[in-house]
């Protein structure tokens, strides 16, 4: 060997890298099932607010479908839809969409629509709106988001799907018109998508199940 220290360093580094990789691999092996179970529980937990009052017997994750961008839904990311069935009859569709026009960052919304086009509810999955003002869209902070329950495209009619400051029928959060406007707009857009004759979310093939674990 011409350059022994280099060889020695290479060998030590290789050995340590291998040990570290084994450490990470075994931790992964140990935690994998729990993490998958946690993710699934978290998803079902987070879908629950818009499932109130629905009777269904289908698995939520197995009925998931990804609607690839570009689409007519809010946001420019792929949207996820969870279809809810009772027997073979469609009960509701839950849309996970992203509103990009909030005050700060993306607002992830979960919008539940019954097969007849009325809203089961709207729920904020994540947001970065200002604490004390825009964070009122979070159920834990205020009941603002509950005003959508039972509404549909016909109630209020098209012109009413705005915040009251813009002449619509929905209250805005004090000091957070931009946030309120973004949410109302996203809900309206989702209803329009659901209502449109070109799209029938219940007829799409599922891509959930195994992939949902990834």
């Amino acid at each position: 060997m011409v350059d022994r220290p280099i060889m020695r360093s290479a060998a030590t580094l290789t050995a340590i890298a291998a040990i570290c990789a084994m450490l990470v691999a075994s931790t992964h092996e140990l935690t994998d099932d729990r993490i998958a179970a946690n993710d699934k529980a978290w998803l079902e937990q987070s879908l629950r607010p818009v499932l109130a009052g629905l009777e269904f017997d289908s698995g939520l994750i197995d009925s998931r479908v990804t609607i690839p961008a570009p689409h007519a839904l809010p946001g420019s990311d792929d949207a996820l839809v969870y279809r809810v069935y009772n027997g073979a009859a469609p009960v509701a569709a839950l849309f996970a969409v992203t509103a990009r026009d909030g005050y700060s960052g993306a607002i992830r919304l979960l919008i539940g629509i019954r097969a007849d086009g009325t809203l089961t509810g709207v729920h904020t999955l994540s947001h970065r709106e200002t604490p004390g003002l825009g964070d009122g869209i979070d159920r834990a902070k205020s009941d603002w988001i509950e005003q959508f329950e039972g509404r549909s495209l016909a109630d209020p009619a098209t012109g009413g799907w705005r915040i009251s400051r813009d002449g619509g029928e929905f209250d805005q959060l004090t000091g957070a018109s931009v946030t309120s406007r973004a949410v109302v707009k996203a809900v309206r857009q989702t209803l329009e998508y659901f209502d449109s004759d070109d799209t029938d979310v219940f007829s799409l093939a599922s891509d959930g199940g195994e992939q949902a674990r990834q």
Binding site: R8, S9, A21, T27, T31
Partner: protein, 198 residues
């Protein structure tokens, strides 16, 4: 060799990672919006620090100086990944609220600093104690600031916004210095004085 008391005195107060060395401030400022977040990141950092000190110390005789930094990086990165997986598996709620800051422990200079300054020169036992005490000092600071901000935010919203983090840390450092000043005047204890100078 330092005694155990000296270790604790240094880690928790005179050489406190956050207050004196001003290391690891990014996570400190970012996650301390609540007591629970502070506690969570504190525990995560503490466990990484103990484990990385132990491993670095265990391999210190085989490592040539030229490759010591890559070795620290490997060890710390693996441990942080493991910690993240453990948090995801057993504390999913905490993992969600801390988000990116658990993987970002890898960038906390306090950890590589302890590996370089202490663990690479001392026995495994001493390194574990050092990691524990230094981590504890950092965790206690995270918890204190988290509690302070969460409490003050009830009346003053700014406390949980980013500027509040800077104010809180500044207040904590000012308070520590004020206490040291008063003690320095009243107390003639030589060991304390010496540690302050260092």
């Amino acid at each position: 060799m330092k005694t155990l008391t000296e270790h604790f005195r240094a880690g928790l107060w005179f050489e406190n990672t956050g207050l004196v060395q001003l290391l690891g401030l990014c996570p400190l400022l970012a996650v301390t919006t609540t007591f629970v977040n502070g506690l969570g990141l504190g525990i995560a950092t503490l466990s990484v620090l103990v484990a990385s000190n132990a491993l670095v110390s265990a391999v210190r005789h085989w490592i040539l100086p030229e490759i010591r930094i890559p070795v620290y990086v490997l060890i710390i990165a693996s441990l942080v990944t493991c910690t993240e997986l453990v948090f995801k598996a057993w504390f999913p709620a905490l993992d969600r609220s801390l988000g990116i800051f658990i993987p970002l422990i890898v960038t906390n200079c306090a950890i590589v600093a302890r590996a370089e300054v202490f663990a690479s020169r001392n026995s495994i036992g001493a390194s574990i104690i050092d990691g524990f005490v230094m981590g504890l000092g950092f965790a206690l600071l995270l918890i204190t600031i988290g509690m302070f901000r969460e409490f003050v935010a009830q009346g003053w919203l700014l406390a949980v916004l980013p500027p509040g983090a800077f104010f809180s840390l500044a207040l904590a450092i000012a308070a520590k210095n004020a206490i040291d000043d008063r003690r320095g005047k009243q107390n003639t204890n030589v060991t304390i004085r010496e540690t302050v100078k260092r």
